[in-house]
Symmetry: C2
Subunit: 354 residues, 2 copies
């Protein structure tokens, strides 16, 4: 299989176009936490109970033609690389991998739905879409939830709502998030200021790479803090409206960078980053993330003649250790990774159709 | 006129192929100092005497069909930019420009011969060829010398030889030099050691950019120290044989860099330099020289798929301030130079026919 064919196979299915506001928003995710009545929460459940969860889900999937294209995979049937690939595609959490026995994941064909089985809760129904499509992601998750609820007896309290392992998830069981790319706000020195107000309106922010509000790739995840006391519509609506404000501020910062002399400096910066990515023979993960951030902004702003935003976004995934090693087809030492990472970047950037 | 047409016009005529040992040797130069009897040396000569020199040369040039393609230009007929372009092409010295009145230069059509008039001596007959062709350059200068001697009465002492303004030039009046590119010796930390022995055998070394034995572009000029007591053949022979030893050591260092893991690091370094040069929108002169040095080595070692050594060598000239400003057609501020320098580099590297 050619490298490009392997790449197509290993890219997250959900990472495709069209992606509304995709110049700034990487992805929109919704997760619903659900548990089945009469079965202990996973951390207290025995093997038999955990298997009971998997069996019930399996039966529910078979009961509806709507689940025709959904596949249930047991984690103990997969090798560790394939499991980590799921994490790197944003389909499951690292927590799910801690103890693969009696754990599983249900995926639909285009990987826009991923249901984790026996992670912190019996079910974590996740929907993920490219760009700012949080409402659509929520509708998708809710549809799956309703289809499953026909067959499964979810733990629900009239007053509290859905019952979950962790009290912070009680209520709607909803966690919604968007992943935004804010390189211009970083460059003009305003990213901390812009993001610092989000906790005041009940939203969390964290860097996708690194700690706290710092992020090497200028990628930040914005999500809701609480699930109790707000309707799903209110939670989704708030994140969307705040994200739109952040988008506006990032766009204003990009416009400011295009004005006067700073335009040339910006073109210089993003094109140099592209030149390095298309010519390196050895590159570390840290340097790659930094350069990809510059190149992504340059590509979506049409400042780099040959670079396409979609191709650059894909590289954020292809350079991750497990995906990279699957691409190359074997275990790689850290030194080898720097070499093959550079090769994959060059190969993939060369496919830009621009 | 297109930029590429302008570039062709402004490149030094002598910088062409074939250039023997051109992977390491940029150029071979020979200069003969001559003065005319009965006329004071230039620094002590009055206007009438300086003009007398120019007149005598002009008449001598007209007397032989061998000088058909030679042109005498008065410096006071040229603007300052055009004069500096001659310096940047290695055709005349900066000293000649100090007082342009009553100074001149004679050039042949392909700029392999440049005779300075009324610099330190009445005539400085220079021959310059690409690569290691010192003997051929000397033969060319000697041929010009002999043709001129038929018409001009050169100051000559049976014991001392040719008389010159500066005592260090008395004798043969010969100064011979080669410009060598030694990036691999620099990388393996041996360049100072290799070059430090040259003064012991009567040769001078200096960095072409920067001071002493340090050179940002890894370009070093090797020349003879004295002109008295050695025949022309001996001087030329010594420089050629020492240069060949230096070439062997540089080639050995390049081979060492190609071995084992260091090959990948070398490919990484030279290709990154190429990526930056082909993508920068702003670049300083200092950074350019450093990157060009890496790219030149990578090109002649066939480590950079699209880069051609000849094109890279040409860039060492095209980025010089006066040539750059002639290319763009107007005076440029230092900031503008960084911008246009980057543009010329991109444009010219794109013409590589590889």
């Amino acid at each position: 299989m050619s490298l490009e064919a392997q790449i197509k196979r290993l890219l997250p299915g959900w990472l495709k176009e069209p992606a509304p506001d995709g110049d700034i928003v990487f992805s929109s995710r919704v997760r619903l936490a659900r548990n089945i009545n009469q079965i202990s929460f996973p951390y207290h459940a025995g093997e038999v109970q955990l298997e009971e969860v998997i069996d019930q889900i399996g039966a529910a999937l078979k009961s509806s033609s709507q689940f025709e294209n959904f596949v249930l995979q047991r984690l103990d049937d997969m090798d560790q690389h394939d499991r980590v690939v799921l994490v790197e595609k944003y389909l499951v959490s690292l927590d799910l991998l801690k103890n693969p026995a009696h754990r599983g994941v249900v995926l639909n064909q285009d990987e826009t739905v991923a249901i984790m089985l026996n992670e912190e809760d019996h079910l974590r129904i996740q929907s993920i879409l490219p760009g700012l499509q949080l409402k659509k992601a929520w509708e998708s998750a809710e549809q799956i939830d309703q289809l499953l609820e026909v067959k499964l007896d979810f733990a629900f309290d009239e007053e509290k709502g859905y019952l979950t392992t962790c009290p912070t998830n009680v209520g709607t069981g909803l966690r919604a998030s968007v992943l935004v790319h804010l390189p211009a706000l970083k460059m003009v020195g305003q990213v901390k200021k812009v993001l610092s107000v989000l906790p005041n309106v009940g939203l969390n922010v964290r860097g996708a790479y690194g700690e706290g509000t710092d992020s090497a790739g200028d990628l930040y995840q914005i999500s809701n803090q609480v699930t109790l006391g707000l309707s799903e519509e209110e939670v989704i609506g708030k994140i969307v409206s705040v994200t739109k404000q952040v988008i506006d501020q990032e766009r204003a910062a990009r416009d400011a960078l295009l004005a006067n002399e700073s335009r040339l400096q910006l073109e210089n910066r993003v094109n140099r980053a592209y030149g390095l990515l298309t010519h390196s023979r050895l590159i570390s993960s840290e340097e790659t993330i930094k350069l990809l951030s510059d190149v992504l902004m340059g590509a979506v702003m049409n400042l780099i003649p040959k670079a396409e935003g979609q191709t650059v976004k894909e590289l954020f995934f292809l350079i991750r250790p497990a995906i990279l090693q699957k691409l190359i087809g074997r275990e790689l030492s850290p030194g080898e990774r720097d070499h093959y990472r550079a090769a994959v970047i060059r190969e993939h950037l060369a496919t830009s159709s621009k």
